[in-house]
């Protein structure tokens, strides 16, 4: 590369860095201005002492954990069996796991609400529908992560070793396979966590308490508290993805994003 061109690459890089950081800096600075004339963490303490925030946020954490559990229970056995016994079903499963990319979240929620708000499927008010929706949205990431994890280990040998030692299928799956793909599961889980915590559409339209709809509501109500929440949300996304990089060091895949 010639000398002169390096200047231009630096310029591109600096614009990128500014684009990335300026909105965050602006948000952070703004979040410190809750007290007139001085910089303070007042907005943050307001947020944490707001019982509505705590309630909505804790619900989001609960939804995220349930989504992860459902995802693991649903996708680990499926991905395992597809790899070992029923490769014929692979293309069908892959098609399904990629569908959430083709169907925009708002369209998906539209279908969900309209389908489940009339008898005999009147479960639109049940948290189960919310969790199902989150599980679908996180499916491309969760399933992919688990499948990648299974590809990295010798599923067949592990299974046969388990069988010859007299293990039944559930202990093969949960005592042998699961611990061996824990890194993959963890990265899928943290990505799902980030997606569910930031997700706005499903909780909003199923009228369930959650962090993102509460924050959207607060943007209309207050000035500084939403700024503190945005910083918090960014820190959480950062933490979740940072942990993925940490646990998956050396075998990291590019993490491609969730719903906007």
């Amino acid at each position: 590369m010639k000398r002169g061109s390096r200047f231009w690459w630096w310029l591109v890089m600096i614009i990128g860095i500014l684009y990335f950081f300026l909105p965050l800096i602006a948000t952070f600075v703004f979040s410190l201005k809750a007290k007139l004339g001085v910089l303070s963490f007042q907005a943050y303490s307001n947020v944490f002492s707001d019982p509505d925030f705590v309630r909505n946020f804790m619900y989001s954490v609960l939804w995220a954990l349930l989504t992860i559990v459902v995802g693991i229970l649903l996708f680990v056995p499926t991905a395992y069996l597809i790899r070992l016994r029923v490769p014929k079903a692979r293309s069908a499963v892959e098609f399904i796991t990629l569908l959430p990319f083709v169907i925009p979240a708002i369209v998906f929620v539209f279908g969900l609400v309209r389908t489940f708000s009339q008898p005999p499927l009147l479960i639109v008010n049940s948290p189960a529908l919310l969790i199902a929706g989150y599980t679908v949205l996180s499916m491309p990431y969760m399933y992919r992560a688990i499948d990648t994890g299974l590809r990295a280990i010798d599923v067949r040998t592990l299974t046969e070793a388990g069988q010859s030692l007299g293990a039944n299928w559930s202990s093969i799956l949960f005592d042998i396979i699961l611990p061996n793909i824990r890194v993959a599961i963890l990265s899928g889980a943290f990505l799902s966590f980030a997606i569910v915590i930031g997700e706005y559409i499903i909780a909003q339209y199923l009228a369930k308490p959650a962090f993102a709809p509460y924050m959207a509501y607060m943007i209309q109500q207050k000035a500084y508290e939403p700024a503190a929440m945005a910083i918090l949300s960014f820190a959480l996304t950062w933490a979740a993805l940072g942990i993925i990089q940490l646990v998956g060091r050396g075998r990291g895949q590019a993490q491609v994003p969730g719903g906007h």
Partner: protein, 288 residues
């Protein structure tokens, strides 16, 4: 392998049934409902093309699709070009190595940082009282006096770019890695200048993956809802926003039209993904 495995085979099929049952109930069935009901009159329950035709006869809905498509074109092109330059700068620009790994990490975070918090971050930066606007005002230039607003098309485009260009960086980086240094050296030895290198070697190889990734960006922005909703309070007329309004039941009492709008979005997205798949196949020929 067929005969002794038989009984196990059926157990295995049973084992993947929960997944298919779940997918059918919560994904395939609701999605197929959208397709079916787009062609059903919501009052008489008879087959009709009226919902689809209504899409094309309503300037309001056509306008919404058009703005959605326009913003997706602008941000996929802009985000795609800038993301590519950024990735190339970090990988082949001769910049310090640390920038590359930091860029990938930042891109992973930024492409996930969307929706409500992103909307607020740009309110803090570019609203009339935002940080950057404040700086510009101090320099004697207020963009709001020159037609700029954060809450309309170009403002929203700037916000969307925040999750568009990092996605480009993430997806295009492996393709740039696949560009062998030997090709550059070989072309230089044969007397090519850097324009000729790009024109005849690098671009033809990278173009399918650049185009393919831009199509992904197009879909990424076309389906976006939360960012625009939180930023404009639903005031901007995007296809996703209209669907959201329809779902709340505020306007247009006709549910059939809502289904048809959803179908329209899925059709656009399917075309995008199909194009992406075709381009992906072309890419794989060169970059392995």
């Amino acid at each position: 392998m067929a005969r002794p495995a038989r009984p196990k085979m059926s157990w295995a099929w049973l084992g993947i049934m929960p997944f298919f049952l779940f997918a059918f109930l919560f994904l395939l069935y609701p999605s197929s409902t959208i397709v079916v009901r787009s062609f059903v009159d919501s009052k008489t329950h008879a087959f009709t093309l009226k919902n689809i035709l209504d899409l094309f006869s309503s300037p309001y809905i056509l306008g919404a699709y058009w703005i959605s498509i326009k913003i997706s074109l602008v941000t996929s092109l802009g985000g795609g070009i800038f993301g590519f330059l950024l990735a190339y700068a970090a990988i082949r620009g001769g910049l310090p190595k640390i920038l590359r790994s930091s860029l990938m990490t930042f891109s992973g975070v930024a492409s996930n940082f969307a929706g409500v918090p992103l909307a607020f971050a740009f309110i803090a930066l570019l609203s009339p009282t935002g940080l950057l606007i404040g700086w510009m005002r101090a320099l004697g230039y207020n963009p709001y006096f020159h037609g700029f607003t954060l809450y309309t098309f170009w403002g929203l485009s700037i916000v969307y770019m925040y999750f568009q260009f990092p996605l480009m960086v993430l997806i295009i980086a492996p393709a740039i890695d696949g560009l062998r240094r030997e090709w550059l050296e070989a072309s230089e030895n044969l007397g090519a200048n850097s324009f000729q290198y790009w024109r005849h070697i690098a671009l033809p190889i990278l173009l399918p993956s650049i185009m393919g990734t831009m199509i992904l960006l197009f879909g990424n922005s076309f389906g976006a809802f939360a960012t625009a909703q939180a930023l404009t309070g639903g005031q901007i007329n995007l296809a996703t926003i209209v669907i959201g309004t329809q779902l709340r039941g505020d306007i247009m009492g006709d549910p059939g039209l809502g289904y048809a709008m959803c179908l329209g979005m899925v059709v656009v997205m399917s075309i995008a993904i199909a194009l992406y798949t075709i381009l992906q196949r072309r890419t794989e020929r060169w970059l392995r």
